[in-house]
């Protein structure tokens, strides 16, 4: 045996599982196709950081096309898949916006007759949310009326002038708002220095104040003995007997094939990478893909369609300053309201305004910053005066929204690329329209003289959920409530693929709590205690 447990993927979920299992007597090996990135080489250490955001640190793997990336065919989706393949995974580029799912998100079938109920609840996850917040380092404010009590956070990130202005708008309308839950340390935490408001968190945090898992979980997990194999791509999980997997096949940077054996395998490759690996791991025992006797692997993909709302203000709000994706948020329209023409709901996430280049590019595109003598004045009238906000829409599961293997495209290891087929459902379209209208209303209530709103935004497919969902019925789910495959008893899935519904907030906090919950189950099944 090379390890007791092999964890595939060193992102948000894989890091949490690896760390949790490092508190047992188990030998843990994590395999990651990407590598460590040096925070001191992130774009925010350069004056041309906005250019790097469009190239090397672009959220789209099809644009980055780095050695660690695999191509994704998302031609049949209005939303392009975003990710980052590295130690830290997509948390390297995430904004750090860190709200939890609501208690109602686990009961959408019982409450609203849509989706399905989860086989676990908010209260099951509550202790794991707390462990995760402590490990990651989370800023926020107690007392939020949109949640059961959330303890133990650092002071919230600054609202800034733009946050204050939009908060006034929310108050004018009588709508809920709250300082963002942020995976950003606002005080020294775990050897990491506090946030200094660099701005472009979504190109990596040079200060390491943003709680990407390469700087939060991984240093501790490695100290506690987890072995991390980087630049190594798992090509197949091998099943040679009816109820267990035997080993994984992986290719290193040197091109050598390695066979790695363990007692259990935990997959944490996200809602696209995980079904891709399972579908590619066919065998005589699993002709339709590993763990896929239900035919559900790859189905029910949920991506969170995003609406984008912008308001232009007369006065300078210094809106470009502060942590890019963390300011304030509103859950006013989160829960189902029978007076609306859709069920479930959405949240608003207030962003910081665009940087100089993005301001100029969008201003020229919209013909509001002219070429010629009015150019400088046009730029001056927009820069720092633009407030931005996204609406994150709950995406209901639908079997036709799915990940399959592309018949033509392959990655550099000759594994078929994932092919994503996705369409917005009618309920989501109505919700989108509502969110864009309410977003503009908010901007006007805050004093904007001009507003824009559109959606779905194409390059925002970060939140990949539902493609190996958990459930009690083996006919319509892939794993049980502990992330264990219904078909293969030593195979677990610990990322947001197991989500039954999508909630209407960024999923990282919840997926990590689920990953910790599943890690404890793995330990239990292997007969060891978590210290």
């Amino acid at each position: 045996m090379d390890a007791d447990v092999i964890v595939i993927g060193a992102g948000a979920a894989g890091a949490a599982v690896s760390w949790r299992l490092s508190r047992t007597s188990l030998k843990v090996l994590c395999i990651e196709q990407g590598d460590f990135h040096n925070p001191l080489e992130y774009p925010s250490t350069r004056s041309d950081w906005e250019l790097k955001k469009l190239s090397t640190h672009n959220p789209l793997p099809n644009v980055r096309n780095s050695a660690a990336d695999y191509p994704i065919n998302d031609d049949d989706s209005p939303i392009a898949v975003s990710n980052f393949n590295a130690v830290g995974g997509s948390t390297v580029l995430f904004s750090g916006h860190f709200p939890r799912f609501h208690p109602s998100d686990f009961f959408t079938k019982s409450l609203d007759g849509v989706g399905d109920d989860w086989p676990i609840t908010y209260s099951d996850l509550e202790p794991y949310f707390e462990i995760n917040d402590r490990m990651m380092g989370v800023a926020g404010l107690k007392g939020d009326t949109a949640y059961p009590e959330i303890p133990g956070m650092m002071p919230p990130v600054p609202l800034g002038l733009v946050g204050e202005r939009l908060a006034t708008g929310f108050n004018n309308l009588g709508w809920h708002w709250w300082p963002s839950y942020s995976a950003i340390v606002t005080k020294q935490h775990g050897g990491r220095a506090a946030c200094i408001n660099l701005g472009p968190c979504n190109t990596g945090c040079a200060q390491s104040a943003k709680s990407s898992v390469d700087v939060s979980y991984w240093p501790v997990a490695l100290r506690q003995g987890v072995e991390l194999l980087t630049q190594t791509r798992v090509t197949r999980i091998v099943q040679n007997s009816p109820e267990t997997v035997d080993c994984v096949e992986a290719v290193g940077a040197d091109g050598e094939l390695r066979i790695l054996r363990s007692r259990a395998v935990v997959i944490a490759c996200n809602g696209v990478g995980t079904p891709r690996l399972l579908l590619h791991s066919r065998s005589d025992w699993a002709p339709d893909g590993l763990g896929n006797s239900s035919g559900q692997v790859g189905r029910n993909l949920m991506i969170h369609p995003l609406g984008y709302v912008e308001g232009i203000f007369e006065d300078d709000l210094a809106s470009h300053l502060g942590p890019q994706g963390c300011c304030i948020a509103s859950h006013e329209f989160y829960e189902t309201d029978s007076g609306r023409d859709f069920v479930r709901g959405y949240s608003f996430q207030v962003l910081r305004g665009p940087g100089p280049l993005e301001t100029a590019l969008s201003g020229v595109l919209r013909r509001e910053i002219p070429w010629g003598e009015g150019h400088h004045e046009g730029f001056r009238r927009r820069f720092g005066k633009t407030a931005s906000m996204t609406a994150i829409l709950e995406d209901l599961p639908h079997p036709d929204n799915r990940v399959e293997l592309d018949p033509v495209r392959k990655d550099s290891s000759n594994i078929p690329a994932p092919k994503v087929t996705y369409a917005l459902q009618p309920n989501t379209k109505r919700m989108m329209s509502h969110s864009l209208n309410r977003g503009r209303e908010l901007m006007r209530a805050a004093g904007a003289f001009k507003t824009y709103a559109f959606g779905p935004v194409r390059e925002t497919g970060w939140h990949l959920m539902g493609t190996t969902r958990m459930g009690t019925d083996e006919r319509n789910s892939v794993v049980n409530r502990y992330g264990q495959s219904h078909d293969v008893r030593n195979l677990y899935i610990a990322d947001s693929s197991v989500f039954v519904t999508s909630g209407a907030v960024n999923p990282t906090s919840t997926l990590q709590a689920v990953a910790l919950w599943i890690a404890d189950a793995v330990a239990r099944d292997l007969g060891v205690e978590v210290l």
């Binding site: 949109a146 009588g174 809920h176 200060q207």
Partner: protein, 146 residues
């Protein structure tokens, strides 16, 4: 006139200097730094050449001789034909211009990288939350959240 000559005049028409405010013209930006491939360079050169041709055809003048008023007429008259070429060169110009340290400093944006200086941001007045508190809980009870 060469592509680089035409480009200099075109860049300054697109982003003219503002001597009073110390703002640089477009030609100061080094576009070669953002032309990432030979293909991008060829497309850029081709678009500059086509815009110069259109200036001659539609306005009967060179880019060098154009005033801002004439340039605005040109943009309006040649809108459809100019569109793809202006988009190509405009994107490159903006990328080069708004990431140039000297230009950014002149615009009052700070010349350097965000790190390590960071920035100062207003904490904000959390008393604004009073009406949110007063309204009370808004999440749905499901019977087992605690």
């Amino acid at each position: 006139m060469s592509v680089s000559g035409n480009w200099r005049f075109l860049a300054d028409l697109m982003i003219p200097p503002d001597p009073e405010k110390g703002l640089f013209p477009g030609s100061v930006a080094d576009v070669s730094s953002v032309l990432e491939s030979e293909k991008a360079r060829r497309e850029f050169d081709s678009s500059v050449a086509r815009i110069a041709e259109l200036a001659d055809t539609l306005m009967g003048t060179s880019l060098e001789a154009m005033t801002d008023a004439l340039f605005q007429d040109f943009l309006s008259t040649g809108r459809i034909e100019l569109e793809p070429h202006l988009r190509t060169v405009g994107t490159i110009l903006l990328k080069a211009y708004y990431t140039d340290p000297l230009i950014r400093a002149a615009l009052g944006l700070g010349s350097g990288a965000p790190f390590p200086a960071g920035s100062s941001v207003l904490d904000g007045d959390l008393e604004l939350l009073e009406p949110v508190y007063n309204r009370g809980k808004i999440y749905r009870d499901v019977g087992c959240e605690h």
